[in-house]
Symmetry: C2
Subunit: 232 residues, 2 copies
Protein backbone atom coordinates (compact mmCIF):
# COMPACT_ATOMS: atom_id res chain seq x y z
CA UNK A 1 0.00 0.00 0.00
CA UNK A 2 1.20 3.46 -0.93
CA UNK A 3 1.26 6.02 1.85
CA UNK A 4 0.83 9.52 0.45
CA UNK A 5 0.67 12.49 2.80
CA UNK A 6 0.78 16.22 2.23
CA UNK A 7 1.77 18.64 4.95
CA UNK A 8 0.20 21.84 3.75
CA UNK A 9 -1.69 24.98 4.63
CA UNK A 10 -5.01 26.08 3.16
CA UNK A 11 -3.90 29.57 2.13
CA UNK A 12 -0.57 28.59 0.57
CA UNK A 13 -0.61 28.57 -3.25
CA UNK A 14 2.41 26.22 -3.13
CA UNK A 15 0.55 23.71 -1.00
CA UNK A 16 -2.56 24.00 -3.21
CA UNK A 17 -0.42 23.38 -6.32
CA UNK A 18 0.43 19.93 -4.97
CA UNK A 19 -3.19 19.20 -4.02
CA UNK A 20 -4.39 20.06 -7.54
CA UNK A 21 -1.67 17.86 -9.08
CA UNK A 22 -2.63 14.92 -6.87
CA UNK A 23 -6.30 15.32 -7.71
CA UNK A 24 -5.60 15.66 -11.43
CA UNK A 25 -3.64 12.42 -11.27
CA UNK A 26 -6.30 10.73 -9.16
CA UNK A 27 -3.87 9.94 -6.34
CA UNK A 28 -5.41 9.45 -2.91
CA UNK A 29 -3.64 11.29 -0.11
CA UNK A 30 -3.97 12.40 3.45
CA UNK A 31 -3.85 16.16 4.01
CA UNK A 32 -2.24 17.30 7.25
CA UNK A 33 -2.66 20.98 8.00
CA UNK A 34 0.49 22.60 9.43
CA UNK A 35 0.08 24.65 12.58
CA UNK A 36 0.99 28.33 12.73
CA UNK A 37 3.66 29.58 13.03
CA UNK A 38 4.70 27.19 10.27
CA UNK A 39 8.43 27.69 10.87
CA UNK A 40 7.95 26.14 14.30
CA UNK A 41 5.49 23.39 13.40
CA UNK A 42 7.21 20.16 14.57
CA UNK A 43 6.35 18.18 11.43
CA UNK A 44 7.65 20.94 9.17
CA UNK A 45 10.88 21.36 11.15
CA UNK A 46 11.37 17.59 11.04
CA UNK A 47 10.69 17.02 7.35
CA UNK A 48 11.80 20.32 5.79
CA UNK A 49 14.65 21.51 8.01
CA UNK A 50 16.25 23.49 5.16
CA UNK A 51 13.36 25.84 4.39
CA UNK A 52 10.83 25.14 7.18
CA UNK A 53 7.94 25.78 4.79
CA UNK A 54 4.88 24.06 3.37
CA UNK A 55 4.33 22.01 1.28
CA UNK A 56 6.09 18.84 2.35
CA UNK A 57 5.14 15.75 0.40
CA UNK A 58 5.61 12.41 2.12
CA UNK A 59 5.62 9.30 -0.02
CA UNK A 60 5.97 6.11 2.00
CA UNK A 61 7.63 8.20 4.67
CA UNK A 62 10.19 9.87 2.36
CA UNK A 63 9.91 13.67 2.36
CA UNK A 64 10.16 16.03 -0.62
CA UNK A 65 10.00 19.82 -0.36
CA UNK A 66 9.64 22.69 -2.84
CA UNK A 67 6.41 22.62 -4.83
CA UNK A 68 8.03 22.56 -8.29
CA UNK A 69 10.21 19.61 -7.27
CA UNK A 70 7.15 17.83 -5.85
CA UNK A 71 5.14 18.37 -9.06
CA UNK A 72 7.92 16.80 -11.14
CA UNK A 73 8.10 13.88 -8.71
CA UNK A 74 4.36 13.27 -8.87
CA UNK A 75 4.45 13.40 -12.67
CA UNK A 76 7.36 10.94 -12.85
CA UNK A 77 6.30 8.55 -10.16
CA UNK A 78 2.68 8.16 -11.29
CA UNK A 79 3.13 8.00 -15.03
CA UNK A 80 -0.34 6.65 -15.77
CA UNK A 81 -3.20 8.97 -16.54
CA UNK A 82 -2.96 12.69 -17.24
CA UNK A 83 0.58 14.00 -17.39
CA UNK A 84 1.26 17.37 -15.80
CA UNK A 85 4.13 18.54 -17.98
CA UNK A 86 3.60 18.73 -21.75
CA UNK A 87 4.96 15.84 -23.83
CA UNK A 88 7.18 17.86 -26.15
CA UNK A 89 10.66 18.47 -24.66
CA UNK A 90 10.76 22.09 -25.80
CA UNK A 91 7.32 22.82 -24.33
CA UNK A 92 8.46 21.14 -21.12
CA UNK A 93 11.48 23.44 -21.04
CA UNK A 94 9.25 26.48 -21.55
CA UNK A 95 6.90 25.37 -18.76
CA UNK A 96 9.90 24.96 -16.43
CA UNK A 97 11.41 28.29 -17.49
CA UNK A 98 8.24 30.28 -16.83
CA UNK A 99 7.47 28.46 -13.58
CA UNK A 100 10.96 29.31 -12.38
CA UNK A 101 10.30 32.90 -13.49
CA UNK A 102 7.11 33.05 -11.40
CA UNK A 103 8.76 31.62 -8.30
CA UNK A 104 12.15 33.32 -8.54
CA UNK A 105 11.23 36.69 -10.02
CA UNK A 106 7.54 37.40 -9.34
CA UNK A 107 7.21 35.74 -5.93
CA UNK A 108 9.79 37.88 -4.05
CA UNK A 109 7.97 41.03 -5.24
CA UNK A 110 4.57 39.57 -4.30
CA UNK A 111 5.90 38.78 -0.81
CA UNK A 112 7.23 42.33 -0.35
CA UNK A 113 3.97 43.78 -1.65
CA UNK A 114 2.05 41.66 0.81
CA UNK A 115 4.10 41.38 3.98
CA UNK A 116 6.64 44.21 4.04
CA UNK A 117 5.57 47.04 6.33
CA UNK A 118 7.63 49.74 4.62
CA UNK A 119 5.54 51.85 2.25
CA UNK A 120 8.37 52.60 -0.16
CA UNK A 121 9.42 48.95 -0.38
CA UNK A 122 5.81 48.04 -1.19
CA UNK A 123 5.47 50.69 -3.88
CA UNK A 124 8.76 49.60 -5.46
CA UNK A 125 7.68 45.94 -5.41
CA UNK A 126 4.44 46.93 -7.12
CA UNK A 127 6.41 48.57 -9.93
CA UNK A 128 8.76 45.59 -10.30
CA UNK A 129 5.86 43.16 -10.38
CA UNK A 130 4.18 45.26 -13.05
CA UNK A 131 7.25 44.94 -15.29
CA UNK A 132 7.51 41.19 -14.69
CA UNK A 133 3.84 40.62 -15.49
CA UNK A 134 4.36 42.46 -18.79
CA UNK A 135 6.88 39.78 -19.78
CA UNK A 136 4.41 37.03 -18.93
CA UNK A 137 1.58 38.87 -20.72
CA UNK A 138 3.49 38.60 -24.00
CA UNK A 139 3.98 34.85 -23.64
CA UNK A 140 0.33 33.95 -23.74
CA UNK A 141 -0.95 32.67 -27.04
CA UNK A 142 -4.28 33.79 -28.47
CA UNK A 143 -5.63 31.40 -31.02
CA UNK A 144 -9.10 32.21 -32.34
CA UNK A 145 -11.22 32.60 -29.24
CA UNK A 146 -8.86 30.60 -27.10
CA UNK A 147 -6.02 31.68 -24.87
CA UNK A 148 -3.38 29.40 -23.45
CA UNK A 149 0.22 29.07 -22.41
CA UNK A 150 2.67 26.93 -24.36
CA UNK A 151 1.85 24.18 -26.78
CA UNK A 152 -0.97 22.42 -24.97
CA UNK A 153 -4.43 23.73 -24.26
CA UNK A 154 -5.28 21.87 -21.05
CA UNK A 155 -4.79 22.15 -17.31
CA UNK A 156 -1.24 21.01 -16.58
CA UNK A 157 1.98 21.94 -14.82
CA UNK A 158 2.08 25.57 -15.96
CA UNK A 159 -1.58 26.20 -15.19
CA UNK A 160 -1.15 24.64 -11.74
CA UNK A 161 1.97 26.68 -11.01
CA UNK A 162 0.38 29.91 -12.24
CA UNK A 163 -2.42 29.93 -9.65
CA UNK A 164 -0.04 32.21 -7.75
CA UNK A 165 -0.77 34.83 -10.42
CA UNK A 166 -4.14 33.79 -11.82
CA UNK A 167 -5.90 33.36 -8.45
CA UNK A 168 -3.86 34.45 -5.42
CA UNK A 169 -2.64 37.79 -6.79
CA UNK A 170 -6.21 38.94 -7.46
CA UNK A 171 -7.23 38.12 -3.89
CA UNK A 172 -4.13 39.79 -2.45
CA UNK A 173 -4.67 42.98 -4.42
CA UNK A 174 -8.27 43.14 -3.24
CA UNK A 175 -7.15 42.71 0.38
CA UNK A 176 -4.48 45.40 -0.07
CA UNK A 177 -6.73 47.67 -2.16
CA UNK A 178 -4.20 47.98 -4.97
CA UNK A 179 -4.65 47.48 -8.68
CA UNK A 180 -1.78 45.82 -10.53
CA UNK A 181 -3.19 42.96 -12.54
CA UNK A 182 -6.11 44.52 -14.42
CA UNK A 183 -7.89 43.82 -17.70
CA UNK A 184 -6.76 47.07 -19.34
CA UNK A 185 -3.02 46.54 -18.91
CA UNK A 186 -2.93 42.75 -18.85
CA UNK A 187 -5.77 41.56 -21.11
CA UNK A 188 -4.09 38.23 -21.88
CA UNK A 189 -3.28 37.25 -18.29
CA UNK A 190 -6.76 38.30 -17.14
CA UNK A 191 -8.46 36.36 -19.95
CA UNK A 192 -6.28 33.34 -19.14
CA UNK A 193 -7.13 33.65 -15.43
CA UNK A 194 -10.87 33.89 -16.26
CA UNK A 195 -10.59 30.82 -18.46
CA UNK A 196 -8.75 28.80 -15.81
CA UNK A 197 -11.12 29.90 -13.08
CA UNK A 198 -14.11 28.88 -15.18
CA UNK A 199 -12.71 25.34 -15.29
CA UNK A 200 -14.80 23.51 -12.72
CA UNK A 201 -12.00 21.09 -11.80
CA UNK A 202 -9.68 23.93 -10.85
CA UNK A 203 -12.40 25.94 -9.14
CA UNK A 204 -13.44 23.03 -6.95
CA UNK A 205 -9.90 22.51 -5.75
CA UNK A 206 -8.99 26.08 -4.88
CA UNK A 207 -9.70 27.50 -1.42
CA UNK A 208 -12.90 29.61 -1.42
CA UNK A 209 -12.18 33.22 -2.38
CA UNK A 210 -13.85 34.68 0.72
CA UNK A 211 -11.79 32.50 3.05
CA UNK A 212 -8.55 33.50 1.29
CA UNK A 213 -9.56 37.15 1.27
CA UNK A 214 -10.19 37.03 5.01
CA UNK A 215 -6.72 35.51 5.49
CA UNK A 216 -4.99 38.29 3.55
CA UNK A 217 -7.09 41.01 5.16
CA UNK A 218 -5.87 39.68 8.48
CA UNK A 219 -2.20 39.02 7.69
CA UNK A 220 -1.16 41.28 4.78
CA UNK A 221 0.49 44.56 5.73
CA UNK A 222 -1.60 47.48 4.45
CA UNK A 223 -0.06 50.39 2.51
CA UNK A 224 0.46 52.97 5.26
CA UNK A 225 2.71 56.00 4.88
CA UNK A 226 5.09 56.32 7.80
CA UNK A 227 5.13 59.66 9.63
CA UNK A 228 8.34 60.81 8.03
CA UNK A 229 7.02 59.88 4.60
CA UNK A 230 3.71 61.77 4.68
CA UNK A 231 3.39 63.71 1.47
CA UNK A 232 2.27 67.35 1.52
CA UNK B 1 20.43 17.65 -39.48
CA UNK B 2 20.33 18.85 -35.90
CA UNK B 3 21.66 22.34 -35.27
CA UNK B 4 22.97 22.64 -31.73
CA UNK B 5 24.55 25.88 -30.54
CA UNK B 6 25.60 27.15 -27.16
CA UNK B 7 26.01 30.83 -26.41
CA UNK B 8 28.30 30.79 -23.44
CA UNK B 9 31.27 32.30 -21.67
CA UNK B 10 34.42 30.47 -20.61
CA UNK B 11 34.38 31.58 -16.98
CA UNK B 12 30.67 30.96 -16.32
CA UNK B 13 29.98 27.79 -14.31
CA UNK B 14 26.43 27.83 -15.74
CA UNK B 15 27.70 27.82 -19.29
CA UNK B 16 30.25 25.08 -18.47
CA UNK B 17 27.47 22.96 -16.91
CA UNK B 18 25.80 22.79 -20.32
CA UNK B 19 29.07 22.01 -22.12
CA UNK B 20 29.80 19.12 -19.77
CA UNK B 21 26.27 17.74 -20.23
CA UNK B 22 26.59 17.91 -24.02
CA UNK B 23 29.95 16.15 -23.94
CA UNK B 24 28.71 13.49 -21.53
CA UNK B 25 25.83 12.79 -23.91
CA UNK B 26 28.12 12.89 -26.94
CA UNK B 27 26.15 15.66 -28.64
CA UNK B 28 28.06 17.75 -31.16
CA UNK B 29 27.57 21.48 -30.81
CA UNK B 30 28.94 24.83 -31.85
CA UNK B 31 30.18 27.04 -29.02
CA UNK B 32 29.70 30.76 -29.51
CA UNK B 33 31.45 32.93 -26.95
CA UNK B 34 29.35 35.90 -25.80
CA UNK B 35 31.01 39.29 -25.85
CA UNK B 36 31.44 41.41 -22.74
CA UNK B 37 29.46 43.12 -21.36
CA UNK B 38 27.18 40.09 -21.65
CA UNK B 39 24.01 42.06 -20.84
CA UNK B 40 24.58 44.04 -24.06
CA UNK B 41 25.76 41.21 -26.30
CA UNK B 42 23.31 41.27 -29.26
CA UNK B 43 22.85 37.49 -29.39
CA UNK B 44 22.15 37.32 -25.65
CA UNK B 45 19.68 40.22 -25.75
CA UNK B 46 17.95 38.58 -28.71
CA UNK B 47 17.68 35.05 -27.34
CA UNK B 48 17.48 35.63 -23.58
CA UNK B 49 15.66 38.96 -23.23
CA UNK B 50 14.30 38.06 -19.79
CA UNK B 51 17.62 37.54 -17.98
CA UNK B 52 20.26 38.68 -20.53
CA UNK B 53 22.67 36.01 -19.28
CA UNK B 54 24.64 33.04 -20.54
CA UNK B 55 24.08 30.21 -21.21
CA UNK B 56 21.59 30.23 -24.05
CA UNK B 57 21.06 26.88 -25.73
CA UNK B 58 19.84 26.93 -29.33
CA UNK B 59 18.38 23.74 -30.73
CA UNK B 60 17.37 24.08 -34.37
CA UNK B 61 17.04 27.80 -33.75
CA UNK B 62 14.81 27.51 -30.68
CA UNK B 63 16.33 29.15 -27.58
CA UNK B 64 16.32 27.85 -24.00
CA UNK B 65 17.80 29.74 -21.05
CA UNK B 66 18.64 28.88 -17.44
CA UNK B 67 21.21 26.13 -17.04
CA UNK B 68 19.03 23.78 -14.93
CA UNK B 69 16.23 24.02 -17.50
CA UNK B 70 18.73 23.35 -20.30
CA UNK B 71 20.16 20.28 -18.52
CA UNK B 72 16.66 18.78 -18.18
CA UNK B 73 15.99 19.52 -21.86
CA UNK B 74 19.20 17.83 -22.98
CA UNK B 75 18.43 14.80 -20.83
CA UNK B 76 14.89 14.50 -22.20
CA UNK B 77 15.58 15.28 -25.81
CA UNK B 78 18.59 12.97 -26.23
CA UNK B 79 17.40 9.96 -24.27
CA UNK B 80 20.01 7.57 -25.64
CA UNK B 81 23.28 7.03 -23.86
CA UNK B 82 24.18 8.21 -20.38
CA UNK B 83 21.34 9.88 -18.55
CA UNK B 84 22.12 12.95 -16.48
CA UNK B 85 19.46 12.66 -13.81
CA UNK B 86 19.28 9.45 -11.74
CA UNK B 87 16.65 6.89 -12.78
CA UNK B 88 14.85 6.62 -9.45
CA UNK B 89 12.12 9.31 -9.08
CA UNK B 90 13.04 10.05 -5.46
CA UNK B 91 16.73 10.44 -6.30
CA UNK B 92 15.73 12.72 -9.19
CA UNK B 93 13.72 14.83 -6.75
CA UNK B 94 16.71 15.05 -4.40
CA UNK B 95 19.04 16.06 -7.24
CA UNK B 96 16.57 18.79 -8.26
CA UNK B 97 16.08 19.95 -4.67
CA UNK B 98 19.81 20.33 -3.99
CA UNK B 99 20.52 21.92 -7.35
CA UNK B 100 17.82 24.49 -6.64
CA UNK B 101 19.41 24.98 -3.21
CA UNK B 102 22.79 25.70 -4.80
CA UNK B 103 21.39 28.17 -7.32
CA UNK B 104 18.79 29.88 -5.15
CA UNK B 105 20.48 29.87 -1.76
CA UNK B 106 24.26 29.54 -2.23
CA UNK B 107 24.66 31.49 -5.48
CA UNK B 108 23.33 34.87 -4.23
CA UNK B 109 25.84 34.70 -1.35
CA UNK B 110 28.68 33.69 -3.69
CA UNK B 111 27.84 36.64 -5.94
CA UNK B 112 27.89 39.09 -3.02
CA UNK B 113 31.13 37.60 -1.75
CA UNK B 114 32.66 38.01 -5.17
CA UNK B 115 31.27 41.18 -6.69
CA UNK B 116 29.89 43.37 -3.93
CA UNK B 117 32.26 46.19 -3.01
CA UNK B 118 30.95 46.71 0.52
CA UNK B 119 33.14 45.02 3.14
CA UNK B 120 30.30 44.31 5.57
CA UNK B 121 28.08 42.82 2.87
CA UNK B 122 30.96 40.54 1.87
CA UNK B 123 31.64 39.39 5.42
CA UNK B 124 27.93 38.71 5.99
CA UNK B 125 27.73 36.73 2.74
CA UNK B 126 30.73 34.69 3.86
CA UNK B 127 28.91 33.77 7.09
CA UNK B 128 25.69 32.88 5.27
CA UNK B 129 27.53 30.73 2.77
CA UNK B 130 29.29 28.93 5.60
CA UNK B 131 25.91 27.97 7.10
CA UNK B 132 24.53 26.84 3.74
CA UNK B 133 27.57 24.69 3.01
CA UNK B 134 27.10 22.96 6.38
CA UNK B 135 23.69 21.78 5.17
CA UNK B 136 25.21 20.40 1.99
CA UNK B 137 28.09 18.81 3.92
CA UNK B 138 25.61 16.64 5.81
CA UNK B 139 23.96 15.38 2.62
CA UNK B 140 27.02 13.67 1.25
CA UNK B 141 27.15 9.93 1.69
CA UNK B 142 30.33 8.16 2.74
CA UNK B 143 30.29 4.51 1.87
CA UNK B 144 33.54 2.64 2.59
CA UNK B 145 36.20 4.66 0.85
CA UNK B 146 33.76 6.30 -1.47
CA UNK B 147 31.92 9.59 -1.23
CA UNK B 148 28.99 10.59 -3.37
CA UNK B 149 25.75 12.50 -3.50
CA UNK B 150 22.40 10.77 -3.76
CA UNK B 151 21.75 7.26 -4.90
CA UNK B 152 24.13 6.98 -7.84
CA UNK B 153 27.90 7.01 -7.81
CA UNK B 154 28.67 8.50 -11.22
CA UNK B 155 29.02 11.87 -12.92
CA UNK B 156 25.50 13.14 -13.56
CA UNK B 157 23.18 16.09 -13.10
CA UNK B 158 24.07 16.84 -9.48
CA UNK B 159 27.81 16.54 -10.08
CA UNK B 160 27.55 18.82 -13.11
CA UNK B 161 25.49 21.39 -11.23
CA UNK B 162 27.80 21.32 -8.22
CA UNK B 163 30.89 22.54 -10.12
CA UNK B 164 29.81 25.93 -8.80
CA UNK B 165 30.86 24.69 -5.35
CA UNK B 166 33.37 21.93 -6.10
CA UNK B 167 35.46 23.92 -8.59
CA UNK B 168 34.52 27.60 -8.92
CA UNK B 169 34.26 28.40 -5.21
CA UNK B 170 37.81 27.19 -4.58
CA UNK B 171 39.15 29.42 -7.35
CA UNK B 172 37.12 32.40 -6.14
CA UNK B 173 38.32 32.05 -2.57
CA UNK B 174 41.92 31.89 -3.75
CA UNK B 175 41.43 35.06 -5.82
CA UNK B 176 39.79 36.82 -2.85
CA UNK B 177 42.24 35.37 -0.30
CA UNK B 178 39.47 34.04 1.93
CA UNK B 179 39.02 30.60 3.42
CA UNK B 180 35.46 29.29 3.58
CA UNK B 181 35.42 25.85 2.03
CA UNK B 182 38.28 24.03 3.75
CA UNK B 183 39.06 20.41 4.61
CA UNK B 184 38.80 20.92 8.36
CA UNK B 185 35.27 22.27 8.43
CA UNK B 186 33.93 20.62 5.27
CA UNK B 187 35.70 17.28 4.96
CA UNK B 188 32.88 15.69 2.95
CA UNK B 189 32.49 18.46 0.38
CA UNK B 190 36.27 18.72 -0.03
CA UNK B 191 36.66 14.96 -0.46
CA UNK B 192 33.80 14.96 -2.96
CA UNK B 193 35.39 17.88 -4.84
CA UNK B 194 38.76 16.07 -4.92
CA UNK B 195 37.06 12.95 -6.23
CA UNK B 196 35.18 14.83 -8.94
CA UNK B 197 38.27 16.78 -9.94
CA UNK B 198 40.27 13.58 -10.24
CA UNK B 199 37.78 12.35 -12.85
CA UNK B 200 39.59 12.94 -16.13
CA UNK B 201 36.37 13.53 -18.07
CA UNK B 202 35.35 16.39 -15.80
CA UNK B 203 38.87 17.80 -15.57
CA UNK B 204 39.27 17.94 -19.33
CA UNK B 205 36.06 19.87 -19.72
CA UNK B 206 36.59 22.52 -17.08
CA UNK B 207 38.36 25.79 -17.89
CA UNK B 208 42.02 25.70 -16.75
CA UNK B 209 42.38 26.76 -13.13
CA UNK B 210 44.99 29.44 -13.91
CA UNK B 211 42.78 31.07 -16.55
CA UNK B 212 39.81 31.14 -14.18
CA UNK B 213 41.96 32.45 -11.33
CA UNK B 214 43.21 35.27 -13.54
CA UNK B 215 39.59 36.13 -14.40
CA UNK B 216 38.54 36.38 -10.75
CA UNK B 217 41.70 38.25 -9.75
CA UNK B 218 40.76 40.79 -12.39
CA UNK B 219 37.01 41.07 -11.82
CA UNK B 220 36.26 40.06 -8.20
CA UNK B 221 36.01 42.89 -5.69
CA UNK B 222 38.68 42.47 -3.00
CA UNK B 223 37.86 42.71 0.71
CA UNK B 224 38.76 46.32 1.49
CA UNK B 225 37.60 48.16 4.60
CA UNK B 226 36.07 51.52 3.71
CA UNK B 227 37.47 54.57 5.49
CA UNK B 228 34.56 54.84 7.88
CA UNK B 229 34.78 51.16 8.69
CA UNK B 230 38.47 51.02 9.68
CA UNK B 231 38.74 49.20 12.97
CA UNK B 232 40.93 50.58 15.74
Amino acid sequence: MEEVKLLGFYSSPFSVRVEIALKLKGIEYEFIEAQLPIKQCPNIVKYNPIYKKVPVFLHNGKPISESLVILEYIDENWKDGTSLLPKDPYQRAMARFWSKFMDEKCLPEILKLCYDSNYEVKVKAMGELHELLKLLENELIKDNNNIFFGGENKVGYMEIVSILITYWLGVMQEALEVDILNKKEFPNICEWADKLMSCSFLKENLPPREKLLAFYKKYAQPFVLQNNEVSQ
